[in-house]
């Protein structure tokens, strides 16, 4: 591919290829990945970039996702900028190595295309794969559009390398991954300015050979774990700074959360991923009818933007959390998060939880309207969780 056809152009690309371009522009040095639908296109295009020499990276073909992350861990430990992509069962298979990436403080960037877990076998979207990895310690971003996907990819490397913590960016299967949208591809020199080469603080150095990740006794383990928590707290601040810096150069920003029409809202919807776009449209309609509804988009899931969420939601009377995921026997996972953030607040809204669109079932404006109507009318959430659209 000719370089002149890429940089500084508006291109119509899929969400998957938006990731690929983001990685290209970020000048990743090692990519190790195993193909899995609906992610495959990401690394397919990257492998072509590597083969053509456009991206001067080592592309490691591996035999499983566990190995993919293991290879990334090894590469990142030498001080390389490292990337991988996966989905659903691939991410599940990586699980052990995700802990290694976090504990090793390796700034790996992972793109996960949200795909429902089998069985029943599915390739369509929901968030249970990535949310199952909530507690490993990866930073998690949920994206709404292909432009946001590309921009978040570039931001992810900067956040990861600043805080020494791996970052997962998440996009919905098919709704984003295989859907084309016009995307601004930045100029390389702008990205270079924004994201200078990675200068590792720790790396495998033959001239100063040390053991990494060795046996750590109870006398020391806790302190080192605490440093990971510190890194997450830092990452929250850094994510906002990086987003602002990005805005200075590229003119686009997303925030760690986005508050839409929330100022005087009595009811606020909480969404993530592509449902946000649908909800935004419904909010506009409802507003025109005079309903005081707003929308809170959670972009950064981990570290949790606690104060931002509190500030926005405590002003409302009711909150409806829309979850494209489920923690069986309890409720939607975002809903739990929101509740736990609000619990100790003296003035707090009523929180309604809705699970919807599992396994990639379409979430359409009518669904959102129903949720709004239901919550508007209800005085109190009789149920821990409401299942929208399930044929009971």
């Amino acid at each position: 591919m000719k370089e002149s056809l890429i940089y500084g152009k508006k291109k119509v690309v899929t969400g998957n290829h938006a990731v690929s371009y983001g990685v290209l522009l970020s000048k990743a040095e090692v990519i190790a990945a195993y193909p899995i639908t609906p992610q495959t296109q990401i690394v397919e295009l990257l492998s072509e970039f590597c083969a053509s020499g456009l991206l001067k990276a080592k592309f490691i073909k591996v035999e499983s996702e566990h190995s993919a992350m293991a290879a990334c861990v090894g590469a990142a430990a030498t001080g390389c900028r490292t990337f991988t992509a996966t989905s659903a069962h691939g991410l599940a298979l990586m699980h052990e190595m995700l802990h290694w990436a976090v504990g090793g403080r390796l700034p790996i960037v992972l793109a996960n295309v949200n795909r429902a877990m089998g069985p029943g076998w599915s390739v369509w979207t929901d968030q249970n794969d990535s949310l199952s990895q909530r507690d490993v310690g990866f930073v998690q971003f949920y994206c709404e559009s292909n432009q946001e996907v590309l921009d978040t990819t570039i931001q992810a490397f900067k956040i990861a390398e600043t805080c020494l913590i791996p970052v997962m960016l998440v996009l919905d299967a098919f709704v984003l991954s295989h859907t084309s949208e016009p995307v601004d591809i930045p100029y390389q020199e702008d990205v270079d300015k924004f994201l200078p080469p990675y200068k590792p603080k720790y790396f495998l150095d033959v001239n100063d050979p040390r053991a990494f990740g060795g046996l750590t006794s109870p006398d020391h383990y806790y302190e080192i774990r605490y440093k990971i928590e510190e890194a997450h707290r830092k990452a929250l601040k850094v994510s906002e700074e990086v987003d602002n810096e990005f805005y200075q150069i590229f003119g686009r920003k997303y925030g760690v959360v986005e508050s839409y029409q929330c100022e005087d809202a009595k009811l606020i919807l909480v969404t993530s991923g592509t449902i946000t776009g649908t909800a935004r449209q419904v909010i506009d309609e409802e507003r025109s009818k005079g309903k005081r509804v707003g929308l809170l988009k959670i972009r950064l899931f981990r570290p949790s933007p606690i104060s931002q969420i509190k500030e926005i939601l405590t002003k409302a009377e009711k909150v409806a959390v829309i979850d494209r995921n489920i923690s069986f026997g309890h409720s939607g996972i975002f809903c739990q998060e929101i509740k736990s953030i609000l619990y100790n607040e003296i003035r707090r809204p009523m929180v309604f939880g809705f699970v919807i669109g599992l396994g990639g079932r379409d979430v359409v404006p009518d669904d959102i309207r129903e949720i709004i109507d239901f919550t508007y009318k209800a005085d109190y959430p009789e149920e821990m969780v409401y299942f929208r659209g399930v044929r009971l």
Binding site: G104, V206, D208, F212, E223, I224, K227, A231
Partner: protein, 559 residues
């Protein structure tokens, strides 16, 4: 500071050892240790001259042609000749032949040989001629010339006595110029003359001088008279007009003389290289040619490629057929050959091949007006003193030491008819014995071989690659001329071919050991690797991942 006083801020971001890992000498865990243990590649091993083939291919790949050429000269002074006429057992032994196709070693050798024809070698100190040490060499065939070269290299004054009018022996008179052009041979001999070799032509042993004469005049004599007498068939009418001797026939053609009693239908008897050469030469002289051979194609001692070329050119080979009687007319001219059909019996003869036996009542006649006998050559023992004669040849040890003081011998006259490269190897070995005799040189130690077999290689690191092909003169352009059949290939093709070499048993700095060592216990120093035994756990990964079997593992007790 006590470690338990450490606060969060005092810790590194991740669990990293307080000390450098160098304090942990993991080498003590080892039960096996690896060692760089270069071995013999099969090409070198199977080369009768033990040329360092792997080395000159590696040098060719690097573009160090001068060094590559000089590497061949250590074992063989005439690569432009052997590159053309050798039957290249190196290629048969080449490990790559099990993988895809063997390296075209003879083409690389020929390329370097031709490069060397225009290359003036740097003179060595040892070459300064010592006038007090004079050696006579009888015969200017491959072993004589080879011996001369190595003697000249070491300052011996060399005189070569040749009964013919041109130098080269079998190379000049036997091998047809479509295989070895005369200019090539002349250039090699010129190089030798420039080094100081003195040729005396038309002087024949037994006629113009005797061996004893020479021993008086010279400090040593090297007999390299070859095996030049064609064996008789032992059938009726061999004296008929039109019955020719193989080597004589080739000689006449090489001298461009008109051949007496040469007709249009030629029958060549035999299955060796002389027979094939005779057949192809007769073809070029405009005759129809049939080869009569008593066994099958499988057993033919001739070089396979030559047999195939002969067939392509139009030579017919009649297998499992032996001559019984030559048929002549009243004027005593050949008119045909009575033959008998043969079959291979279960019995194996001394050559390891199944013995052919005649089938009763299967006699038949093949028409023809010329018969060329080429069933093998023998040494002319009649001109030699009894004391140095063995069974059928001159008796000498592997370095050419005979039973006569000052007299050494090598090549076909000792081994019986063999190949050019074997004669060259013999000439070289004899030269070193003569040097030992005259100047008390140490005889080069017998090389010990530790052969790398195909199974020893790690083939995951190689890809299938086609062997380069020879440029051959098309069949229709070979008629009635003696133009060289195989023409030169480009530098790029040679470089490509060199890149196919596995480099069996010889390190070529591929870095696999260095890259794979999980303990970083291999260091690179000035292009060489060093194993840090303090840290090597003896896992064997380096030995396993070495594609060419350079690294071997040994029990720790044996160290």
């Amino acid at each position: 500071m006590k470690k338990l006083d450490l606060k969060v801020k005092d810790y590194p971001e991740l669990a990293v050892s307080w000390e450098k890992t160098l304090i942990n000498k993991t080498g003590t865990w080892r039960t096996f240790y690896p060692k760089y243990f270069p071995k013999t590649p099969p090409c070198n091993y199977y080369c009768p001259a033990n040329e360092n083939i792997q080395k000159y291919i590696a040098l060719t790949l690097k573009g160090a042609l001068e060094e590559a050429y000089l590497t061949i000269l250590e074992k063989n002074p005439f690569p432009s000749i052997t590159g053309r006429v050798c039957y290249h057992p190196c290629e048969t032994g080449c490990n790559r032949s099990n993988f895809d196709e063997s390296i075209a070693i003879h083409m690389i050798e020929r390329f370097l040989g031709d490069y060397g024809l225009n290359f003036v070698e740097p003179k060595r100190k040892s070459e300064k001629i010592d006038n007090n040490k004079k050696v006579a060499i009888i015969g200017s065939g491959p072993s004589g010339l080879s011996c001369a070269y190595y003697l000249l290299l070491n300052g011996i004054k060399v005189t070569i006595l040749e009964r013919e009018e041109d130098a080269g022996g079998i190379l000049f008179y036997g091998i047809p110029s479509y295989r070895l052009p005369k200019e090539i041979l002349k250039s090699e001999i010129e190089k030798l003359t420039k080094r100081g070799a003195k040729f005396i032509f038309k002087k024949e042993l037994g006629k113009d001088f005797s061996l004893v004469d020479l021993t008086k005049e010279y400090d040593a004599v090297f007999l390299a008279i070859g095996a030049q007498i064609e064996q008789e068939l032992g059938i009726p009418n061999e004296e008929a007009k039109g019955v020719l001797m193989g080597l004589d026939f080739l000689k006449e053609v090489n001298l461009k003389r008109k051949i007496k009693n040469f007709g249009k239908n030629v029958l060549v008897i035999g299955g060796g290289n002389t027979a094939i050469d005779c057949a192809r030469v007769a073809l070029r002289k405009g005759a129809k040619v049939k080869i009569i051979y008593r066994r099958t194609k499988e057993e033919m001692p001739a070089v396979k490629e030559e047999v195939e070329e002969a067939i392509k050119e139009g030579v017919e080979i009649i297998f499992l057929t032996a001559p019984v009687k030559i048929i002549k007319n009243k004027r005593g001219e050949v008119r045909g050959l009575e033959c008998v059909k043969m079959k291979l019996s279960g019995e194996v003869d001394e050559t390891g091949r199944r013995k052919p036996v005649p089938i009763r009542n299967s006699n038949f006649i093949i028409k023809g007006d010329t018969i060329i006998k080429a069933i093998g050559e023998r040494v002319d023992l009649s001109i030699l003193p009894k004391e140095i004669i063995g069974k059928k040849t001159i008796f000498a040890d592997e370095y050419g030491k005979t039973n006569m003081e000052k007299v050494f011998a090598g090549g076909d006259c000792v081994t019986g008819p063999k190949t050019v490269v074997e004669a060259i190897a013999y000439g070289r070995k004899s030269a070193y014995l003569i040097l030992h005799y005259l100047k008390n040189y140490e005889i080069p130690k017998k090389e010990s071989f530790n052969l790398v077999s195909y199974e020893n290689l790690n083939l995951y690191y190689f890809e299938k690659q086609k062997r380069i092909e020879e440029n051959k003169l098309p069949i229709n352009k070979r008629k009635r001329n003696f133009k060289e059949i195989i023409t030169a290939v480009s530098d790029q093709e040679i470089r490509y071919e060199a890149s196919r070499c596995f480099s069996c048993g010889v390190c070529n700095n591929c870095d696999n050991c260095y890259v794979f060592c999980p303990d970083l216990a291999i260091l690179k120093k000035n292009g060489e690797y060093e194993i840090l035994y303090d840290y090597c756990k003896g896992c064997g990964v380096c030995a396993h991942e070495c594609p060419r079997n350079v690294i071997s593992m040994f029990f720790e007790e044996e160290k």
